[in-house]
Amino acid sequence: MKFMLMIYDNPDTRAVFFGEEGKPLMAEMEAIMAELKESGELVDTAALGDPAATKVVRGSGVVTDGPLAEAKEHFGGYLIVDVESEARAVEIAARWPKVDTAMEVRPLLGDGGEEM
């Protein structure tokens, strides 16, 4: 079962992660990532650039700068994992280092299906 683990952060937590203080957190992250690679559970992962670099494209074709909404937290990066159960995906998210940030664990929709 594939899940996307969505990381929500804010400017303050970004500063922590990318700064000197964040080094042990980054190391923790690297360790989990290495473990997921080794187990064959990691499908894909990426950190997103700064929210300020976002372009918003509306249905009308109008392009504006900046994220969609002024939010306290924004989408900062993701992991896609292929794991045995939802519980395992949640466990990975629980271990992911967080500084006042949150993670969402959401199943991916597949193209399979059963006759019902």
């Binding site: 080794e38 064959g40 292929d82 929709l109 399979g112 006759e115 019902m116």
Partner: protein, 392 residues
């Protein structure tokens, strides 16, 4: 010519690997060596011709590779392992028990189900890592890692303990399901896992012809697969069993599956695959959905719920009971049932719709749509919710 070589290589692969693992243990090393030997054969045979004894050729080449690998590692290894180098290569005649042992080893309980599936397809099925990755829709590197980890886990596992056929059958069943529930149309590059599962189950059946549960598993796969041409419509949408155009069912598969199911059942006592095969055979026997012998299907599900009770079986039993005694009788069976995913809500919705409890049915369809992990199922369930008009 080349397709013939490919088939031959895939047939030889498990026997060659089995012979090597029996001799050298060190599953990971042997598997790498066999892959190299298969690659060499795939490059040489089409041009130079297939050797007289293909199995012996592959064993000899793979054996040399294993020795080379042990030599290059041997500086830091124990003397006993170096002594192994002096041993002659394994016999050059195929030994069917090696294949069975290999199958059991790939389904070793120390491996997680995804690893069991991947390793069985690679080591016994002879699929490449890239093909397996594409079948499970993950990147090649991810699948390579999964397989390499599984091989390491098996490194020191005993090759000679009799394998548990129950686990092997379950892994083959999971491979089949993975293929059957994948949508057929959208990605042609996905190898056909149902065909591969059937091929491997045929192999197991050849190795243990008297095992009735294996006969039944093969029957179940054939009977289920026979419905494939009818289970999606021209637009790729799922078609429920009762609405399928039965003239499109594969008659050849039905004939073979039914004969196998009858053979397995005749001997009794009935195991879970025998009961499921029997149920599939009853469906296959009905010319139209209305001709279905629901009394017999209900009886078979009751037996199945006794010997292998599970919420999924109860759910299916409820569907059959609803056909026989009406939707309210089916709904009663669902009370108190707990099951993850969307299927419970989908069945409840369907039975509520048939009981004319439209508002509840609509809510249940939407509940099921939100729970499913499949896009075609989601579209199907939302369509059903949309066509129901809530009663005034």
């Amino acid at each position: 010519m080349s397709a013939r070589v490919d088939d031959l290589l895939r047939e030889c692969a498990p026997q060659v690997l089995g012979a090597l693992v029996r001799r050298h243990r060190q599953f990971d090393l042997c598997e790498d060596a066999v892959q190299e030997a298969l690659l060499a054969a795939a490059q040489q045979w089409p041009g130079e011709g297939v050797p007289q004894n293909p199995h012996g050729w592959l064993v000899a080449v793979a054996h040399r590779r294993v020795i080379d690998a042990i030599r290059s590692e041997s500086a830091s290894r124990a003397r006993e392992e170096r002594l192994a180098l002096l041993e002659p290569p394994p016999a050059d005649t195929p030994d069917t028990d090696d294949t069975l042992q290999l199958l059991a080893l790939c389904c070793h309980p120390a491996l997680s189900p995804p690893s069991q599936l991947a390793l069985t397809l690679r080591a016994v099925g002879g699929l490449t890592t890239a093909e397996i990755a594409s079948a499970f829709l993950v990147p090649g590197a991810t699948m390579a890692q999964r397989i390499s980890r599984a091989k390491k886990t098996l490194r020191d596992k005993d090759f000679d303990t009799p394998g548990d056929l129950t686990v092997v059958r379950h892994v083959l069943y999971l491979i089949f399901n993975e293929g059957y529930t994948a949508s057929s149309g959208s990605d042609l590059a996905r190898p056909d896992l149902t065909a591969e599962a059937i091929r491997l189950t045929r192999l197991l059946h050849r190795l243990r012809p008297d095992d009735d549960e294996t006969v039944a598993l093969l029957a179940l796969m054939l009977l289920t697969d026979s419905r494939r041409p009818a289970r999606t419509d021209a637009g790729g949408e799922l078609v429920p069993l009762v609405e399928q155009d039965r003239t499109r069912w594969d008659a050849v598969q039905i004939a073979e599956g039914t004969a196998l199911a009858e053979r397995a059942i005749a001997r009794g006592p009935l195991g879970p695959y025998e009961l499921q095969a029997a149920i599939a055979a009853v469906h296959a026997d009905a010319k139209t959905a209305a001709d279905t012998d629901w009394r017999q299907i209900v009886g078979l599900y009751e037996l199945l719920d006794k010997i292998a009770p599970s919420p999924v079986v109860t759910l299916n039993r409820a569907v059959a009971v609803a056909e026989l005694r009406g939707p309210e009788a089916g709904l009663e069976l669902l009370d108190g049932l707990e099951l993850d995913g969307h299927r419970l809500a989908a069945v409840r919705a369907h039975l509520l719709e048939r009981a004319d409890r439209t508002a509840e049915a609509r809510a249940a369809y939407l509940d099921a749509a939100a729970r499913t992990g499949s896009l075609p199922e989601r579209r199907y369930l939302e369509r059903r919710a949309a066509v129901i008009t809530p009663s005034a």
